[in-house]
Amino acid sequence: MFYYPVNDFGPVMKGMIIGGLGIFHVYLAQFAIGGGLLMSWFQWRSMRGGADGGELYTRFIDGLFRVLVLVSFVTGAVTGVAMWFTTIQISPRTIGLMVDEFHWVWAIEWTFFCLEVAAGYAFYRRGPTLDPRSRLTLLLMYSLAAWMSLFWINGILSWQLTPGAWHETHSVWQGFFNPTFWPSLIFRTLSSMATAALVACLVVNLSSRFDAEERRRLVHASFRFLAPMAVMPLLGAWFLAAVPEASRTWAMGGSIAMTMFLGIGVGASALIGGYAVVLLLKKSMTVNGATAALLIALGFGATAGAEFVREGIRKPYTVHGTLYSNSITQDEVARFRREGCTTGDPYPLRGERELPEQLGLGAHVFRVQCSVCHTWDGANGLAHLTSGWTDDQLRLNIAQLQRTKNFMPPFAGTPEELEALVQWLRWGHADKPDGWLATDDPRVIAQIQRHLDEVGVEPGVRVGSSADSNH
């Protein structure tokens, strides 16, 4: 194992950083993908002419595309790169594994990025002066490129949760076309269409280019892109059926946080879908700017809920069955039980004061094994999670972590390291006094060893191979 320097983000849980940025980026990317599809569709409708009013649609497309360039090409592109950098900050081993396995997929995605930028800027600069057929060609190429970037990245992200037959074969394509690939791809495509329709409504309302009747027509036309949301419940069910049993259980009531975020996602989507049904049925109704903004906020909430659940139900892994959330592999757990998880780490402890040896070791174990998901007394803080536990409870619960909470990875260290972690926690609970006696009772170490031996090094969740989705 190559040790990386670990940073402390204070009271902020590291997952919140990558989750927050990820949700923001996903929403922008959805706008880019759905926006391309929406404008291609509008361009096609404008070419059909007739009562639909081609000129109105053309005007709408040119206005919306400027927004797309300013939002998606700028913030969307940079936050995409930021996802890489942030993942490095949180879990370099995870991103390293993903790059090793899927660098050609990422390289393919890059070729579509290039096409997306070329087609996008060509339309941005020349679209308004080109003939309709050329406009449609550019928009279709832009849409194809944007959607293909979703296609490729979706395979990598869904592989993290359900690697499928990759466990046995290590075939990149079996990992790519994994059990949740298709439901999440279709789901994300429909989410993109919905996002684009909602943003279009906001842009139409904010623009001075349209009168009230034109706005109503454009809003109704855009809202048709929300109609496919009707199949989202089926896709959600398909997705949940394809994930590992433990993950499904957490989302469906086993974990309060997961269930709550799933509820937010489903509830927000249902509200948007309900509003879309009413508007599509009632032709005289329209959506004003404030309502459009509210619907966009709901859409963001739905995306946030879905992304949080997708990330959360992967526990205790970052790559299911392969790499734990703390960047330790299953094979390394057994080795660290013998050799220790801190012995090979060249990076010293950082802190305001020098700690006694045992407390220093405990702090080091926390850094290596816990700090990626926990803080001391901030978000998901151990101060709160372990308050009220006695010494023996701490020893047992940490030694048999995967049994205490099956979404936790097994403890990967020696009994001495575990005892040091216990003492560090006790010291923290005691408001970090200057003096702290080290514990050196061999019976305690022997008891911890028995706890560790009893539970073994296997994870608390079942990990399958080709059928890991159906346990």
């Binding site: 660098h103 990422w106 393919i108 070329a118 050329s134 060249p346």
Partner: protein, 354 residues
């Protein structure tokens, strides 16, 4: 010859990395030098009044194309960033982690710079007082300067090895610098101007003499920065540049001499005909390619790449290469088609341009 003297899989990824890095360097140079040029012009205009027509045309071209150039630079930068991770993930990730928030700050700074570029391009903004325009152009330059400095800092730190990393981590500092950093940054910065001049020669051919006055001094300055940087290097790196890198050094020097010769012809009044343009372009790319490979040689004197041979071989066994090659060709063809469509005449001659 480097990088072909490496094992097949390592050489393969090195070639991909270096090839895509050159693709990134061209628009990156345009953005870095372009923002410097506009900042300088902004200061001049605010302090001394107007500038010549030629410089105004250059500035207009730059303002118009900078947002696109930044998009291209970022997009083109994704591929070398990917292959960099395949080749040197441990040192690269470690440097990222050590610089922490300072390093991550390049992302919001890039977003700010991006929007300022669009602001700078807008017609309404052009009507603002010179001081306001100067503040924006200097702001943009500072943003890109910060990004350039951060990249250089990250790269230098990534090559320094574990002892320095441990020291840096224990210190908890978000900055790293040693004597190589300013020399290296200066070389990249002044070396960006000849590339900018070459691209602007395509965009604003009527400003050729003004461009020659930018290109020639910056070529001389880049050579001087290169010499200074060379003597800042440790002895083994200097030896490697000469003994292993001589073909690339020669290539870079040929490109440099050709650029000096061609820009001198332009400066003396020669029209910028197609063959001259093509010659300048080829020479600038040749120099960039030579310098880019030498940059990698410098890294290899500090990083033991043999440690990663096995990882490169394992990465090369992962499937997908053939599909990448096929889709790269397909999308390159589609991009050519896109450009052809964009070059079609307006459907209505009276339509206002964008």
């Amino acid at each position: 010859m480097f990088p072909f003297d490496q094992p097949a899989s390592t050489a393969f990824y090195l070639v991909l990395y270096l090839g895509t890095l050159v693709l990134h360097v061209v628009p990156m140079n345009y953005v870095l030098a372009g923002s410097s040029y506009l900042a300088l012009l902004g200061v001049w205009e605010a302090a001394r009044g107007g500038v010549s027509d030629a410089h105004q045309r250059i500035a207009a071209g730059l303002r118009d194309w900078m947002p696109f150039a930044l998009s291209v630079a970022i997009t083109a930068g994704v591929a070398p960033l990917l292959f960099l991770q395949v080749l040197y993930k441990q040192p690269f990730y470690t440097a990222n982690l050590l610089l922490l928030h300072r390093w991550m700050a390049i992302l919001p700074v890039l977003i700010v710079a991006f929007y300022l570029l669009y602001l700078q391009k807008s017609k309404r903004f052009q009507a603002r007082p010179a001081v306001v325009r100067m503040l924006v152009s200097v702001g943009i330059f500072l943003c890109f300067g910060f990004v350039a400095w951060s990249w250089t800092e990250n790269h230098v730190l990534s090559t320094r090895g574990q002892d320095v990393w441990i020291e840096q981590y224990a210190r908890g500092g978000w900055f790293y610098g040693d004597r190589e950093l300013p020399a290296r940054l200066a070389l990249w910065w002044v070396g960006a101007f000849p590339m900018l001049s070459m691209i602007l020669a395509w965009q604003v051919p009527s400003a050729r003499k003004a461009l020659a006055r930018v290109a020639l001094p910056s070529l001389v300055a880049a050579a001087a920065a290169g010499v200074v940087y060379y003597f800042q290097l440790p002895a083994d790196a200097r030896q490697s540049v000469v003994s292993v890198g001589w073909p690339w050094l020669t290539l870079g020097l040929i490109g440099w001499v050709a650029q000096v010769a061609l820009w001198t012809m332009v400066w003396r009044g020669r029209q910028l005909r197609a063959e001259l343009w093509l010659g300048l372009s080829a020479a600038a790319v040749l120099t960039a390619a030579g310098v880019t490979v030498l940059r990698e040689l410098r890294r290899l004197t500090a990083v033991d790449i043999t440690e990663y041979y096995e990882a490169h071989a394992a990465a090369a066994r992962v499937g997908g290469w053939w599909l990448f090659a096929a889709l790269l060709a397909m999308n390159a063809g589609l991009i050519v088609w896109v450009v052809r469509i964009a070059c079609r005449p307006p459907v209505d001659a009276d339509s206002p341009g964008t």
